[in-house]
Symmetry: C2
Subunit: 416 residues, 2 copies
């Protein structure tokens, strides 16, 4: 079937602009930010808005057991669907583009393809996933995409507690969802998943490019370390008699950060969260706990990075006579994109003359979950100064439209 001429544009910039603007009012935070936590009132209203846009575009709308909203354009050939989308929940507060741009671009692309070409060969789906950010339930990210892949454990909704108090099961009931039905959200009708997302990093800006095609999502491991020593009076305990977990933690933190530095790009290691007990000015702490988040897109290099970290902290704790406990909270190998989908995206970008590069994603995304059930790929759009998870997050309309244009043309190549 004839495609979209290189001289034309499939995407109308006004559609992208008006949908991003409309979503930004649900949970607006200050001038530019958004705070839209999963299953909140503002989140529910935003999901209803997405469903209304899907219906207006002529898609068959479906809401599943966890509140993911799906819009289907049925294909003439049947078979598994080609799905695109992202999430609309946000950080607390975050920006208006993280997740939302992927939903808006998916809607604009599938809408434009339908207007121009009618029914596709393969069924096309747009999805607005319910939760990705772990901003309301600290250890529950990917709730929406894990429901789709059947990766939610029995009774997980009862165990998980929101930062504002109630369990996941309770807040689901509050928005009319039944946690007992979560297993019904699992799907086996998806043949490919493509996610457009803002980069949330500085590499496209540094390269002067609006769009990146993600060949691989990074692998990572997230740890919680607790270093225990002996609480003592800050004035009366000589340095040589102390077992100071703060001294041990500082040495471990310097060590892991330096290790990632020395390994060079794209290795990254971050210590973002720390708690100290008793946290008193004049008391040598008894306990210092902190996170270590280490990432590398190459499996072997990731193993090397993790092995260096682990030997470092065991050596420091042992030498200093400190008690160390290590908990692994998340652990995922690198997730390669499907080569066929990558080539479709690259062909589409070349056809539309959108300057781009191939890259790896240092952030984790819903696409990583979908990889358990189907081929996946991602498209990144340039972030201003690499800033995300902040009201200062910004992606230009021009770049957003360039990304949606590549997405639309790739979907055309795959599904029409």
């Amino acid at each position: 079937m004839t495609g979209i001429p290189a001289s034309e544009r499939a995407i109308d910039p006004r559609r992208i602009d008006e949908m991003i603007e409309a979503l930004s009012h649900h949970g607006a935070w200050g001038e530019t930010g958004v705070s839209r936590l999963v299953y909140s009132n503002e989140w529910s209203v935003a999901q209803e808005q997405v469903a209304a846009w899907m219906a207006a575009a002529g898609l068959d709308v479906e809401t599943d057991a966890v509140g993911n909203v799906w819009g289907w354009r049925r294909g003439t050939e049947g078979g598994k669907a080609v799905v695109t989308g992202s999430h609309i929940d946000s950080q607390k507060p975050g920006g208006r583009f993280d997740g939302a741009l992927g939903v808006v671009a998916a809607l604009a692309a599938v809408e434009a393809l339908g207007q121009r070409f009618g029914a596709p060969r393969r069924t096309l789906g747009v999805v607005s996933l319910c939760e990705e950010e772990a901003s309301r339930f600290a250890r529950t990210n990917f709730w929406g995409s894990r429901a789709v892949t059947g990766a939610i454990a029995p009774h997980e909704a009862d165990r998980m507690r929101a930062i504002d108090g109630p369990t996941m099961a309770e807040v689901m009931h509050d928005v009319g969802l039944d946690p007992a039905l979560i297993p019904t959200a699992k799907r086996d009708d998806i043949g490919a998943f493509i996610e457009l997302h803002i980069e949330q990093g500085p590499l496209l800006e540094a390269a002067g490019l609006p769009v990146g095609i993600v060949e691989k999502i990074t692998g990572y491991r997230q740890y919680w370390l607790e270093v225990r020593g002996e609480a003592n009076h800050a004035g009366t305990t000589p340095m040589d008699l102390r077992k100071d977990p703060m001294a041990g933690a500082a040495e471990i933190i310097s060590g892991v950060i330096d290790t990632a530095h020395r390994m060079g790009r794209p290795a990254v290691t971050t210590v973002g969260r720390m708690t100290v007990e008793p946290n008193g000015r004049a008391v040598v702490p008894e306990r210092v706990g902190f996170t270590v988040d280490a990432r590398h897109p190459e499996a072997a290099a990731l193993e090397t990075l993790l092995a260096r970290h682990e030997s470092r902290w065991h050596e420091v704790a042992s030498r200093r006579g400190l008690e160390l406990t290590v908990r692994v909270d998340s652990d995922r190998p690198p997730c390669p994109s499907d080569p066929g989908l990558v080539e479709a995206l690259a062909g589409a970008a070349a056809e539309a003359a959108v300057p781009h590069m191939r890259m790896t994603s240092g952030a984790v995304h819903d696409a990583m979950q979908f990889a358990a059930i189907c081929p996946v790929a991602m498209l990144f759009v340039r972030s201003k100064a690499g800033i995300s998870h902040s009201p200062a997050e910004f992606t230009s309309l021009e770049d957003s439209v360039a990304g949606a244009e590549v997405l639309a043309r790739a979907l055309h190549r795959i599904a029409y």
Copy 2:
């Protein structure tokens, strides 16, 4: 006047035991701990108990404008008084000896001297100070002794807010005290102050001695440092593009702790409190704040320690491109004990055959405040394992009695 024969004992151990036991019930925490915050109900009842003991011992009882309780045994010669005592407020929770043992020993000593020798030449005073720990008002320690020395600023009671909400002025009103009268608590009738206190450190235990005579209280400076960088996504920002305040803070913390180690005893430096923003697992922090508490009893060595710390953190912040702000919260030069009082204590210990050593105090105490208006000295009693500010704090009755015995004999030498 004839003293106490070396073969006898001025102090009855049962008095020490029953008073420590009785006080421990006011604000009891678990089996062995105490939580008795200034101006709480349990604190008020405990101060009333102390006042009742003073009256029963034949002392003239007086409560001043901040709630310090004084008991006076008038001297035949008039002139300025010799005062002994400590505080009965506690950490939250703390142990039953910190402060309280100094009040109990003072009471037992002055009571025993009165029973044996009647009226002294110089007036003897026992004081139970209202506040030392800063456990209810984070930046208000020495409230009682600062009132005595006239060191409370106008309107300080209105500015200071308790961890449980109200201002110092409000909680004073609640226990029947008028903050407007604080200036009336200032005294000019004190000629010497001797404070008995648990060591709160491990040195006497290590030396196998029950008692220490404090020749000097350490000098110290307490800082609040804030290191600011740039918050960034933990996965998408290459290490070489980060301005990570956690990396800077870890290097500063390792540096200051190592500096105190290398300088050797008695230099001590502690980082006991830290806050991180936004404190997220997958976010390079924007801001890391932490305390630095550095102490040394020799003025010149303290200056050297502080200069090394300050040059270290400015160098780290500058090299890493981080913004550093430094606030000094407390700053006190070393406080030497009065040589005459030290000799009286040493003579008393020798006379009573109580094994002892001379030492410096690494902790700060009310005596440091009294030094502004009169000669001071301190007597330390051995702490089990050096533990304090904890329900695990323990000092044996035998050691407590040995300390009180030395105190009684020293008071006899000075005041009779």
